[in-house]
Symmetry: C2
Subunit: 226 residues, 2 copies
DNA sequence: ACATGTGAAAAAATTCACAGCA
DNA sequence: TGCTGTGAATTTTTTCACATGT
């Protein structure tokens, strides 16, 4: 292998990558950073996988969508793989993020320590309540909603996090799109409409709990049967 | 069809249901509740699907894992389908939930209005900081961490939400399991280990953003190619 | 006529199993 | 020897297309 990056010339299609692979990549990254902090210099696909509940083959297959990162007989160099995955996910550079809606959830997002360490910098906050304008929350100034577009552009925010009531979400999203953000995380429990060229992820807290109640109900059904 | 529930005698295996189906079910439910509030008495699979970005066939196939809920030539009765999905997800009954970690995120969860309407009742809060013990946040009393097990049992909480720092998460989870909770939502950016019989979902906020940066990077790659 | 429910076909994702390399 | 990378086989999930019911 060469000096630093192995197989850096990627001609990966990138389009054919399953969504599930990308979410596992995030988990691999988190686990590798943990491994790194534990002082492990290398890790085998089986180790990494079993920590997360995946098979060794799954880990290897996922990674080879993007290149060859391992050393036969050895495994993966932890630090190299961390760097490689950050590059794949695009978080080897800083992303500027604007938060809309400074209620309980917005405040929690503003104060969340996990963003900065992963390459996300919250550059501005916006709220519809005029009483909140001018406030500084977690060191970030809150602006009135009317200035959303201007703020996004001035701060060169590329991503938006929406933490407003469901009824206000679509309107906020439209303004974010208009202002030119490239991606949106929507915490409002509401389906939003977006143009093709803007990515989004919806996080619905009640829905997360429902995944669990279903699993519990499923176990109950299985039990009844026997 | 009969008086109220169509095909109520389910012999569904329940085990063979793909995970993705369950998360779509949550989205269907949310959309149906929206539809209901708009006064729509019936809805066709195509309508429901297109609002969420799915095909009509997908909607029908998902639902038939659990029974027959539609009326050929008509569609689905909105209110009936809402009730049916709640029953499938298990949220036709109330679930008592305990929150561990009353930092910014825990407070946001405590104040989140979307839980109650979906059948989740937050019955207790716990925090490691003794200064927080005795406080009432959003009408819920905060207890010291030492009493976690006792509180879970006294309140008969069946689910736990973990919003503590990563380093503390495994320990909290172990205590929740010991206390007998049936499911856990983990907001700490850390892999947790659980026995088979306890369900869990991990919500990693940075990971959600990474899904988007990847999508943006992907689009950039596609653009370069042309 | 029109929309559901559903086997069958197709597509996608995962797992297997082994060649190749350190 | 031990582990990666990867085609091939398998399994899972989605889509198709039409018989069936109202």
């Amino acid at each position: 292998m060469a000096n630093s990056n192995r197989k850096s010339d990627e001609e990966t299609t990138f389009a054919a990558v399953p969504k599930a692979v990308v979410s596992r990549l995030s988990l691999y990254l988190r686990e590798l950073q943990q491994l790194l902090s534990e002082g492990k210099e290398t890790v085998r696909s089986g180790e990494l996988g079993s920590r997360l509940g995946f098979t060794d083959a799954q880990v290897r297959k996922d990674l080879t969508y993007f290149g060859q990162f391992g050393y036969p007989g050895i495994g993966y160099r932890t630090d190299e793989l961390v760097q490689a995955i950050r590059q794949i996910l695009g978080t080897d550079i800083e992303w500027r993020v604007v938060i809309v809606g400074i209620g309980n959830l917005g405040r929690a997002l503003l104060g969340y320590k996990g963003f900065a360490s992963q390459g996300f910098q919250i550059v501005a906050a916006v709220d519809a309540d005029p009483k909140k304008a001018g406030l500084k929350v977690e060191g970030v100034e809150v602006h009135p909603i009317e200035q959303l577009g201007k703020i996004v552009k001035r701060c060169r925010a590329r991503l938006g996090m929406v933490a407003v009531p469901a009824a206000a979400a679509q309107n906020v999203v439209d303004q974010l799109v208009e202002a030119g953000v490239e991606g949106i995380v929507n915490f409002a429990p509401m389906t939003i409409n977006l143009p093709e060229h803007v990515s989004h992820v919806g996080v619905d807290l009640a829905s997360e709990l429902e995944q669990i109640t279903f699993a519990v109900a499923k176990r109950w059904h299985a039990q009844q049967q026997s």
